[in-house]
Symmetry: C2
Subunit: 294 residues, 2 copies
């Protein structure tokens, strides 16, 4: 096994239909691969505007199966570029069973599996509980052994849950990818915008630190209008940090891709120098499965 | 119940014996109370140099019982100032059973209880496993209802474990105190010092964010020499942050105290605006009690 592998994340604005958006991803993924990335993650619900800002049954028609045209197209791309891909999509698993998912595709185009978002938000303009049923318990958290490295995938709201990062790390992930669609409400941006972005970054960096693992977040950018609302301004700021939580690359609020090299030695050394996994009190965590400890 | 309460943390260098050190704390606690603090936390193993930088059986003589002179003295101080105190000390619970503990004293001088550090490090110059047996499972994590607010206490190495912060938060803590003794090895400071301090701060801020809770860290300062070593430079940087992870106060690397006001409304609002507790997948966390998921 190689001593290192390179990862990339891509952020872009959604301005057109699924086909033109995927054309854009093809171009960006090729560029990211050319810059050295071997495993590339694009943003949550990659091929459409963030439709969850309204509750509208018509949007269920955007969902497709894991062997549908979207995943199939990216399987072909992965094979032709010899890169592994994390492709987040709106999944139709069965009539009435829809997920916010990410397909993990190996560099030979094979589908390694699908991660289904475990934690589903519901906030003003993020009405995800209307669309998505949460991921199963088994398989819930997963790791995927790609040609280049073992990746864990968690999606957006999952990022606020250290339990999810911990369990995926304990399964052997070398990097956690967080495809994301987080933005500001225009009315809140001035007062709370920086705090919200800082909290988002801080909590994910903390997963890298606590678990001695690389973390890579891919967020969308651009302003998306929604009928009868002020819309959402997706703030980008995709990043890659190392197992000490140090930023290796950080994006602006514009279309951009990032590439960083992950050293296997850095994971091992980080866990030797700050041996948090050694000292976990696994005998004392049972009550973490409680809703509240009365 | 009041809409708010004020907390303080104190950091200082240890230069003398226990008595003179406690004299200094008495002065500093009185100043911190005068500045408005109602619950005050001082640093880990408060009344001696950080003896764990060597393994020497003689240091067991520093340990004392929860009803020993150190805790008794601070109980008197708490009563006279009407403040609640978190007093970290080297506890002798029984012959051969020593803990790295913190006494929580209410504003009337009563001893509410003792938290015993759950996660014990062992690293060059931090040979804590030699001295301390880890805290029990029951009671392991605890909260203490002081006159002014409900506090959770976790000690130093505990801060790297999101499980500990989560469980203590679920027990109803309004603020997590982290008495600490973390410093730099002089040979590492230039290359790694800022990364280490940043990681330390980041992971604790993340506990505030993930749990919607105030976090206050009290670290020691000063350079402490140890025979046959380069010594340790404790970096201070004590801080208090709000439930969004925003810094309310942050100390230098010198003796200092910090005071900040905690608004109960801020905890509630934080958990309404970013309702992470609502969406926890408690059905999916069982494997967090595994050492590694093979």
């Amino acid at each position: 096994m190689s001593e290192h592998f390179s990862i990339g994340v891509i952020q872009t604005a959604i301005t057109g239909d699924s086909d033109s958006t995927c054309d854009r991803y093809e171009h960006l993924i090729a560029e990211t691969a050319k810059a050295g990335a071997q495993i590339i993650c694009i943003q949550e619900l990659c091929n459409s505007k963030y439709f969850c800002s309204v509750e509208d049954h018509r949007f269920f028609e955007l969902a497709e199966a894991e062997d549908g045209p979207l995943v199939s197209r990216f399987r072909g791309l992965a094979r032709s570029l010899s890169v592994a891909l994390v492709i987040p999509f709106f999944e139709r698993r069965a009539a009435g069973v829809y997920h916010n998912s990410a397909a993990v595709i190996d560099a030979d185009g094979s589908l390694l599996g699908v991660y289904r978002k475990m934690h589903i938000p519901d906030d003003p303009l993020y009405y995800e509980k209307f669309y998505f049923t949460p991921g199963d318990i088994d398989p819930g958290y997963q790791v995927f052994k790609t040609k280049y490295g073992t990746v864990g995938v968690l999606i957006c709201w999952d990022q606020w849950y250290p339990e999810a990062a911990r369990i995926t790390s304990l399964m052997g992930a070398e990097v956690l990818f967080y495809p994301t669609a987080i933005g500001w409400h225009p009315a809140e941006k001035e007062e709370f915008g920086q705090q919200q972005k800082s909290a988002w970054q801080t909590v994910q960096r903390s997963h890298a630190i606590a678990n001695g693992i690389y973390v890579a977040a891919a967020n969308r950018v651009g302003f998306e209008e929604t009928e009868n609302t002020d819309g959402l301004e997706f703030f980008g700021g995709s990043f890659i940090c190392d197992p000490g939580g140090t930023m290796l690359a950080e994006a602006s609020d514009k279309e951009e891709f990032l590439v960083a090299r992950c050293e296997r030695k850095a994971i091992e050394e980080s866990r030797q120098l700050w041996p948090f996994l050694r000292d976990r009190r696994i005998d004392s965590y049972a009550s973490i499965v409680k809703r509240w400890i009365d």
